[in-house]
């Protein structure tokens, strides 16, 4: 039990990342209803670009960070323009599988550009541990918590206070009605892909220093983010954060207390149980068919 605090800190750290990724899923879902399986590749790309900037071009972090985010944001927007918008079908399943195809494509490109090797990045600000409430915190943990918190607050502010954010929410509710009210639905969808690209990039950038980087690092992270979003109630931002943190903690405590080989079994097993009891996730509202 001594290590419990440590497991929780570790869990909250990865959980924060999952939360960011889950938010990326939610943003796109809310504008289009689709699951963007290329979300994981936004994470990979964020990590890969900042790796090249920091290690290859020796750009300082303060500049490399925004450049990486902007780069992936553009890629997100591009994905929408070249693959989603021209699609002849508006069927959700088709669009979802277009993102899967796009994900395979992007991974192929990353593999050629960055190779198959494992890469690593040093933490943003040293490795002096900090003791806090019985647990040891690394400075990178604090960066992760802080940046996640800022992103979540920023996103909340955007959706609840700005005109653009409200227009996006209206699009999510009813695209046709929103378009009749003068909202440019196409731009909203484009914006949602760009925004989720940015969120993916941030997640990728802050996680790289605590893990090893490879061209497909985002695949598993993307799945975990999807799981977190579903756990919280798909499309619900607060649910995404809650689901992410919960999944992170469950995984970490499960790995520490029971067995690290079964950590995914524990995390996904609990996810399944939650869904069986509450089929629309923790904070999700079920769709009811009206007769």
């Amino acid at each position: 039990m001594d290590h419990l605090a440590q497991f929780i800190v570790a869990g909250l750290t990865t959980g924060s990342i999952y939360a960011l990724i889950a938010l990326g899923f939610c943003v796109i879902h809310n504008a289009t209803g689709i699951v963007n399986f290329a979300q994981g590749d936004f994470i990979s790309l964020g990590g890969l670009v900042i790796f090249t900037l920091l290690m290859g071009l020796k750009v300082p972090l303060i500049i490399a960070f925004p450049i990486s985010v902007i780069a992936v944001t553009i890629v997100g927007a591009l994905l929408e323009r070249v693959a989603i918008r021209p699609a002849r079908s508006r069927s959700i399943v088709i669009l979802v599988f277009i993102t899967i195809g796009a994900s395979i494509f992007m991974r192929g490109v990353f593999k050629i550009l960055w190779g198959k090797n494992q890469m690593g990045l040093p933490p943003f600000s040293g490795e002096t541990p900090i003791n806090f409430a019985g647990a040891t915190l690394m400075p990178q943990n604090l960066w992760i918590f802080g940046i996640t918190l800022i992103s979540v607050i920023g996103l909340h502010f955007f959706f609840s206070r700005t005109r653009l954010g409200k227009a996006m929410r209206a699009t999510a509710c009813n695209p046709r009605a929103a378009s009749l009210m003068g909202v440019n639905v196409n731009s909203m969808v484009l914006l949602s892909f760009a925004l989720s690209g940015a969120l993916g990039a941030i997640a990728g950038i802050i996680i790289v220093p605590i893990t090893t980087l490879s061209f497909d690092i985002g695949v598993m992270l993307g799945l975990k983010g999807f799981a977190a979003a579903v756990l919280g109630g798909y499309g619900n931002s607060l649910g995404a954060v809650l689901g992410g943190l919960l999944l992170g903690v469950l995984e970490s405590v499960g790995a520490g207390v029971i067995s690290s080989t079964y950590k995914d079994v524990i995390a996904f097993g609990i996810l399944l149980l939650v869904l069986f009891i509450k089929p629309s996730g923790l904070l999700g509202r079920g769709d009811t068919e009206r007769l």
Binding site: F97, I100, G101, I104, G108, I112, L223, L271, L275, E289
Partner: protein, 610 residues
């Protein structure tokens, strides 16, 4: 025995496929491609099951690689570790897989959309980790070697060409079974629940059972494919059964065009061979694979094969432009002039006497609240056998709620509902449908993914019996029932003047036609009681009169009618009894004349007293 056009097309397709299967190895120069063809055959078996699950039942599963793996590992372990006969092992593996699929499927298929996708994906991840971790049984991450080949007597399937014969015979049988099921009563039921689960339930399709059964059946297809795979390659590795293969399998279904077995065959052939075709591109392989996938999905979203077929169809029948029947023609038809011309009250008065004193439906003291709002409180009224009873009231009075309570869509908090002397509250809609009740819906619930005729045939689900097994094998008894249902459905369509539209997709009908289609779908089962929820809402006066006449005709066929309607003219002219609701309580009950004079009713409708 009428096979129908789709049947002829299927037979032709099967004949071409059979010829192709036989000729393919003869035309082959490089034996390497035989190996690819075998893998395509194995994948095809899985994809046929998945096409039925995804394309027909509308349930997307990203967990079928796990069932494939469970089949492969069970076969491998039973034959190598325990020395079972490979064929017996194949059957036992299918049994094990179907049990697991049933246990997983029952809670999982209650989920919808992304939740279902996530749950099946989670299951696949868990299954994969367990296979890797139980290395004493499964050989762990390095795999399970030494699986013996299949054999019939001394004839051992130990070469690519022998396995080709076996695998493609099995794939062919799989395709036949899949096609049979897709065209059957079960296939219609699955597509109906895909389009509208609650509506299908009300037609007598046990939606949740069907989903689970289809899930289990598709898992069995995957398991058999897995067993074949294990014996073919003599080696199984956990990597073959990870979530990425699940994704690939679903991609095959989608690229081929969901809802088409032939498309599934194409998808499996195309996506299985694509990496081999691209192999010369080395490291650029993935990029092209992804690119081709995206392009196909962008430009032929209905699937490659159906996309091409549709274009062919389009060129073949230029005259395919539909002769839309106008309402005027409809009213001029001989069958209807008795109704359209004559004032309603006259044509009805003689029929009023038919109502007997037997009670077919008794509503006793039922209450239902949503949150704090009482949608129905202490409702009590009876419906006499052979009558037309109308339920009226202002918007929000609880009329549709009452219909939904009677039909089992909602469960009442209190009270009992007696139908034909049986207590029915607590039963599911599909069970109530089987007891002789049918209904239409306030918001149209047309199954827009099937034809007009098929919609009506789904309406006969409750009175027919061909289940999964029979629907796959098509014995003579199957055809007998199918013929009977088709005849009944055509008769119901002509009753509502829709016989010429029978083979059109239901989504192409106009609003008025869709309303009549719903009524045709409800009468095809010759129910004892029919609940009509606002049948004339949104129709013009002439159309309303036609429908009112048809309601009278339905009653004269021996069906009792419970009508919910806002059109007071229609209600007053055809009803034997009118029940008035307001704020979930009954405020009046009586003959149309009594209701018209009732002060409570007047004040509820007009506000204040007169």
């Amino acid at each position: 025995m009428r096979i129908g056009l789709s049947g002829v097309k299927s037979l032709l397709g099967l004949a071409i496929l059979a010829v192709f299967i036989v000729l393919f190895p003869l035309a082959l120069s490089n034996p390497y491609y035989l190996n690819v063809a075998n893998i395509i055959g194995i994948n095809t078996i899985i994809v046929v099951g998945l096409t039925l699950l995804i394309g027909y039942a509308g349930q997307v599963s990203l967990g079928h690689a796990a069932f494939y793996g469970i089949g492969a590992y069970t076969s491998a372990i039973l034959t190598v570790t325990y020395g079972f006969n490979p064929w017996l092992a194949l059957v036992l593996a299918a049994l094990v897989t179907s049990s697991i699929a049933f246990i997983i499927g029952t809670p999982t298929l209650k989920l919808h959309g992304h939740y279902l996708v996530m749950a099946t994906l989670g299951f696949n991840l868990i299954a994969n980790i367990i296979i890797v971790q139980c290395d004493s049984v499964t050989g762990g991450p390095s795999g399970f070697p030494g699986v013996p080949p299949l054999a019939i007597g001394s004839w051992v399937f130990d070469s690519d060409i022998k396995m080709y014969c076996l695998i493609w015979s099995m794939a062919f049988i799989g395709i036949v079974l899949g096609l049979n099921l897709s065209m059957s009563r079960v296939g219609r039921g699955l597509r109906a629940l895909h389009s509208g689960e609650s509506a299908a339930n009300c037609m007598g399709v046990p939606a949740s059972k069907y989903k689970v059964k289809m899930f289990v059946l598709s898992a069995v297809f995957a398991s058999v494919a897995g067993s074949l795979y294990a014996h073919y390659l003599s080696f199984v590795s956990p990597k073959t059964f990870d979530i990425f293969f699940s994704v690939e399998l679903v991609t095959m279904v989608i690229v081929g065009g969901m809802g088409s077995i032939w498309g599934g065959l194409f998808g499996s052939a195309f996506l299985t061979s694509l990496p081999h075709l691209l192999s010369s591109l080395d490291e650029y392989k993935d990029i092209f694979y992804g690119f081709i996938l995206v392009v196909i999905l962008i430009f032929t979203p209905e699937g490659f094969i159906p996309g091409i077929l549709q274009k062919l169809d389009f060129y073949l029948k230029e005259k395919g432009q539909r002769n839309k029947k106008r309402l005027d023609d409809f009213l001029d038809e001989p069958g209807f002039n008795g109704v359209a011309g004559i004032p309603l009250a006259d044509s009805c008065s003689s029929k009023r006497l038919e109502a007997s004193n037997d009670i077919i439906l008794g509503i006793n003291n039922i209450s239902k609240s949503f949150g704090g709002i009482a949608a129905a409180s202490s409702l009590t009224f009876d419906v006499q056998k052979g009558s037309i009873t109308s339920l009226i009231g202002p918007n929000g009075a609880g009329k549709t709620t009452t219909i939904n309570l009677i039909y089992g869509v909602y469960k009442p908090n209190l009270g009992t509902i007696i139908f034909r002397n049986n207590r029915i509250n607590g039963l599911y809609p599909y069970q109530i449908a089987a007891m002789g009740m049918a209904r239409t819906f306030q918001n149209l619930q047309i199954f827009d993914n099937i034809t007009v005729l098929e919609n009506v045939m789904v309406g006969a689900h409750a009175i027919s019996h061909n289940e999964f097994f029979v629907s796959m094998l098509h014995p003579p008894s199957y055809w007998k029932e199918e013929k009977l249902i088709r005849e009944k459905a055509l008769e119901a369509l002509s009753f509502f003047g829709l016989e010429k539209e029978a083979d059109l997709p239901a989504c192409q009908l106009s609003f008025g036609e869709q309303k009549r289609l719903e009524m045709a779908r409800a009468i095809v089962s010759e129910p004892e009681l029919i609940l009509l929820d606002e049948p004339v809402a949104g129709l013009n006066r002439a159309e309303s009169i036609t429908i009112a006449g048809l309601i009278m005709k339905i009653r004269s066929r021996g069906t009792t009618v419970l009508l919910v309607e806002h059109d007071i003219n229609v209600v007053m002219s055809i009803s034997d009894k009118v029940v008035v609701l307001n704020y979930g309580t009954m405020i009046a009950e009586g003959t149309p004349i009594q209701i018209q004079k009732n002060e409570l009713v007047l004040s509820a409708y007009l506000g204040g007293s007169l």
